[in-house]
Amino acid sequence: MQVGTPVVVSKQLFLDHLSRCMKKTQVIGPTKLADGSVTFMPLRSPRRLTFDYVNDLDPLKRFFTPPREDLFAWDLTDKKPRLTAPLPDKPRILFGIRSCDVQGLAHMDGFFRGSFYDSLYWARRNNTLIISLACNRPNESCFCLCCNGGPWLENGFDLQLTDLGEEFLADIGSPAGQAFLQESGLEAARARTRHEHRRHELMEACDAQMQPTAYLAKACIQITNDRVREELWEEMGAECFSCGGCTHVCPCCTCFDVVDCPQNTGQGLRFRCWDSCQYAGFTREASGHNPRGRAKERVKRRFYHKLSYPYIQQDGHPGCVGCGRCITVCEANGLLDITAVVKRLRRDGQ
């Protein structure tokens, strides 16, 4: 059993081991709620763990950069004021995360490593074992195929499972993934050609079902060279509700606001919370000056960040993993999600 060599394990025995892990480690996994919907939550027992899902509309980045996260607490009641940073989270396992979200984490890793190391993000990241589950079927909005975001990946996970029916084909992506398997005491046989063959069949069938397409290359050139008519941006700005939904669900979007929350006299918390470049107030300055006061400028900004070469060069890939969440949440009747926008740019073709 070694990193890079796929193995085959019994699905039931693997899940039994995962259930045992729930007793000592937090396991976050796909959970069926009373209304039948599925979301990722900490699981105390395997009872509500489900495989009846494609993905969670609420992006899994929330487990690494939560919608609201404390930065520190202040206490000015003593003679000498005190600032206290939060303690890092305990180790945990994220089970069942889909490939697109794993790819999203890879994007965030680069960003939060960046010129300043974000210790809050990395405390969670380093404490979390990523056991991903490759997709055997897509949603009607999935297009990971176009963005190297899935349905299965070469790396980025600790373990990647492919559901072969009675067995999991497990790709070992890291020493931590290898250790997890070893500690499980499961019998893991080296995967044979027929297993890998079966995986390819499943993945090809999944690819074939994907409906939306996002041919990004041309849009990247157009945006980088500023070869999009201003009128088209105007049009898109007029259609945008500036609701910020697309940025909140995007696995690659990282922007946040910083807010002070006084609690008692002289005490309080500073936290960060998700923010959106699509909000009118995002760039507003105290003087009232606002460099991106119009929706047109904000829509343009969003796609410049996702698709321009300077960003692609910096990040190594476009800022999209093809999860399709922006297609689902966009209020503008399918006009402004990334697949629609690259199509419109291409048709406009300058």
Binding site: L71, Y117, A123
Partner: protein
């Protein structure tokens, strides 16, 4: 691992009223160890906090050769700055920094130096003017042009007085609207260009002020034949985190807080939005 969002506590040692809405705060760190290791460069900035009101970015307004204390000059305009103005000496601020890149100093030795500042754009330039004057002999001509809305809106009035009496500095100031005591020039800062001789080929220009002023200053400098990399300015955006993460100050793929705030016109002109 260090939490990049956690400030150090600094004590307000002194407060100077500059104008009716601008104050200069002289600060030093509460922790001796932090203060001992603290250094900054001209043009860099800090994120300054008032706990409960929030955090905002301010350029250093004092001499980097004297890092035992440092100044920030603050106009009361939003929640954070108004809370700062309510502070008394001995009060606390949270400080993160120094952040951002810096003005070139050693790189422009031997050159003529031209400063064009507007209103509260003078403080960040002062962090460069002060150390340059410490080694005045290393530079050619030294010209400072300062414009303000009214005489009362000028910051550092005693210092301006000192500069105007120094023989080794050409210092000119102008106001948009004079008061009865004002005997100097009236008009926008670019009108002062008429009053000075420039050897354009050996001059480096530094400008800081309101966006509108910067735009006209740069137009004027270019028309006078300044090379694009001899015009140095600062870009201003609301920098929330100061460490290139929150996304608020991004222009194109540059983050003003990390890649800036100091840019040459050659760099600025390439950005997709300005």
């Amino acid at each position: 691992m260090e939490n990049i969002y956690l400030p150090d506590l600094a004590v307000v040692d002194r407060i100077v009223d500059e104008t009716h809405d601008i104050k200069t705060f002289t600060l030093s760190f509460a922790s001796r160890a932090v203060q001992k290791n603290f250094r900054f460069k001209p043009g860099q900035f800090v994120e300054a906090s008032i706990f409960g009101a929030g955090e905002a970015p301010f350029g250093f307004a004092s001499n980097p050769n004297h890092p035992q204390q440092f100044d920030i000059t603050v106009r009361a305009i939003g929640a954070v700055t108004q809370a700062m103005h309510a502070l008394k000496p001995g009060g606390y601020m949270g400080i993160r920094g120094p952040l951002g890149n810096c003005f070139p100093l050693d790189e422009v030795k031997g050159q003529d130096i031209l400063f064009i500042a507007g209103g509260i754009g003078l403080p960040p330039l002062k962090s460069l003017i002060d150390p340059m004057l410490d080694c005045r002999g290393d530079f050619g001509r030294f010209i400072i042009l300062y414009g303000a809305r009214t005489p009362g809106d000028r910051v550092y009035k005693p210092l301006l007085q000192e500069w105007s009496t120094r023989a080794d500095i050409t210092f000119l100031q102008t106001v948009d609207t004079p008061d009865p005591e004002w005997s100097g020039p009236v008009g926008v800062v670019t009108t002062l260009f008429e009053k000075i001789d420039l050897d354009v080929a050996r001059t480096v220009a530094f400008t800081c002020g309101p966006p509108v002023m910067i735009r006209f200053v740069i137009q004027d400098l270019l028309a006078r034949g300044f090379a694009e990399d001899r015009i140095i300015s600062t870009l201003e955006r609301y920098m929330k985190c100061g460490v290139g993460k929150c996304g608020h100050c991004a222009i194109g793929h540059k983050y003003i807080c990390v890649d800036g705030p100091v840019f040459s016109w050659r760099q600025i002109k390439r950005l997709p939005e300005r």
